[in-house]
Symmetry: C2
Subunit: 343 residues, 2 copies
């Protein structure tokens, strides 16, 4: 059997799966931000007409998946797998969305790296001949995440400068063996990294080493330099984590200055309350669906590296004085027409 | 590209991945049960020398993965992916085990179906040419799960007859494109099913429809009858759920009587406290590693269907008066020598 791998740990696709549609549904605050007009749906309030924030998050994820399927013109019967995950305990937003779909379901958990994990696995399933179409999705909700990981939002606790603001957003994409859309060229699945950061209010610093490790392995495996990409997106390191990540990479001789952008710094006007930037599974997923995806689809960007990063802690591990392990997965995407004959 | 699929939703492997090793680590109660002598390691107490039950669960999972790798003679550098999940919030047992391994990590959540999801995805990755070796693992711990999902165990609440006893156990397997071991012949990934059961103390009844749906789809897709398998293992429906599942299948004309066994009824002497049987990610995983795996490896069983089942609720969804969605994944395994030329 031929191995579809390059270097120590990067998977490459001889027949590149295409992302044929993408959709995003966001909350009111995200709708007022600089990417506001690009999202498919903006909820009027954070409850979206539901009785609880958790139910609202599920509704947003369902809307995003329905929209992605509608844009691709693909009904449940023609979707072979639904891959999804979110931040809530027992990934309930994903499981309850899956309940309403007649599609085999595989639940994932990679914290804010989940969309990267879902696109990676979807690409493996399609390239391996196990699926024609895969629905991949992820979500987060500011109020459900805050009360689960930290404090109820009503409590109004004082945020610290490295804090990140969990985004209220859901996004979904349809991957396919056929059809037009950005092609998945290569994937580098991340190793779990832990530099001993134990401050749950500074996830950017905790995730920076995982991002640096994955970038380093991806570029080494592919024999590439940062300039080979029109843009390298982390999601989401915030201001503090981005600075740490770029420093760690510079020490390894890799300079991302000019090519690196963080999706956590793209979704909001950076008011003081946002502190270091945005975070949450839904941030990188919705910024990808609304902003990055159309730019690769149209050829404005010819090759991008999407690197969702996840902090794999829980309130229990923090209480038990553990540090925060992190992971980052890199997905290389190319302009479809360029990708056909691409290197 | 050829599709490696049969029927509406079953994936088949022309070159079957092999499970070349399996290992299990259990708690003291599991060690005293009927399968006690078959487990690789039995912990003296539920803390395993750690300061908390959560740390103990991580230690057991690390031991199980180390053992599975040692049995296979495969170090981290030759394992392409580590796939794992558990019951704890943010799958911390898996993430913290992954932290100690130098292997790309993909976190999964499928409640007690997680080992089925991990073996399925591992098989896809190997058959697709993305990996030579994959480590798949899962764990649960009675005391960590009880205090997270229900009450602290010190509270000593009254259990009801359909209750299931969460197992303290971790298990791991190594899947490989080469080597000797039971072959993964086919996989049917489950759809999320919900018949409206909302009693978190009766997960067997909640999961029975998911099990029945997956069995029905697997047998239809493969054009097979229950008798084509030496045994069909659910994991874990317990007494109550098994009865419901067999009834649901009988109504569809499928009789599992005589061929069906539930791993939740195999691991303990059925004392009154155990109520309907055992459950937890670690139950089906450890019973598979200790009992089923060697019997397929030696040819005592020629073809088995392993069907881990998961209840996808959370304490929050129960408090918000939601019912319990469930999922079940079927993995068909064959005796290696028989599998080479198998149908």
């Amino acid at each position: 059997m031929t191995l579809n791998r390059r270097g120590a740990s990067t998977c490459v696709f001889s027949a590149m799966p295409a992302i044929i549609s993408a959709a995003s549904v966001v909350g009111p605050r995200e709708g007022k931000g600089p990417l506001g007009p690009l999202f498919d749906l903006v909820c009027k309030d954070t409850l979206c007409g539901e009785m609880s924030w958790e139910k609202a998050e599920t509704k947003m994820l369902r809307q995003a998946t329905d929209l992605a399927q509608a844009k691709a013109g693909i009904e449940d019967a023609h979707v072979d797998f639904f891959l999804a995950g979110d931040l809530l305990n027992q990934i309930i937003s994903s499981s309850f969305t899956a309940r309403d779909k007649d599609i085999p379901f595989l639940g994932l958990y990679g914290a804010c790296s989940t969309m990267g994990e879902a696109i990676a696995l979807g690409s493996f399933l399609i390239h391996g001949g196990f699926a024609r179409n895969v629905l991949a999705a992820s979500s987060s909700h500011h109020d459900t995440a805050e009360r689960q990981y930290r404090y109820p939002t009503e409590f109004g606790y004082q945020r610290v400068p490295p804090s990140q603001w969990t985004v209220t957003a859901a996004a979904a994409v349809v991957l396919s063996s056929q059809g037009y859309g950005p092609k998945v060229e290569a994937v580098t699945v991340g190793r779990v990294t832990d530099y001993g950061i134990s401050d749950a209010n500074d996830m950017g610093s905790a995730m920076a080493p995982a991002f640096a490790d994955t970038i380093w392995r991806h570029l080494s495996d592919m024999g590439r330099a940062p300039e080979d990409y029109d843009a390298i997106f982390s999601g989401d390191l915030g201001r503090v984590g981005s600075k740490a990540a770029l420093y760690l990479l510079k020490k390894r001789g890799i300079d991302l200055e000019g090519v690196h952008q963080d999706t956590g710094l793209m979704i909001y006007d950076m008011e003081p309350e946002i502190c270091s930037g945005a975070s949450g599974c839904g941030c990188v997923a919705s910024v990808f669906a609304a902003k990055i995806y159309p730019e690769v689809r149209s050829g404005k960007l010819k090759r991008v590296l999407l690197v969702p990063t996840g902090a794999l802690h829980s309130p229990t591990t923090c209480q038990q004085a553990e540090s925060i392990p992190s992971v980052a997965h890199a997905v290389s995407l190319v302009y479809p027409e360029w990708g056909e004959g691409g290197s």
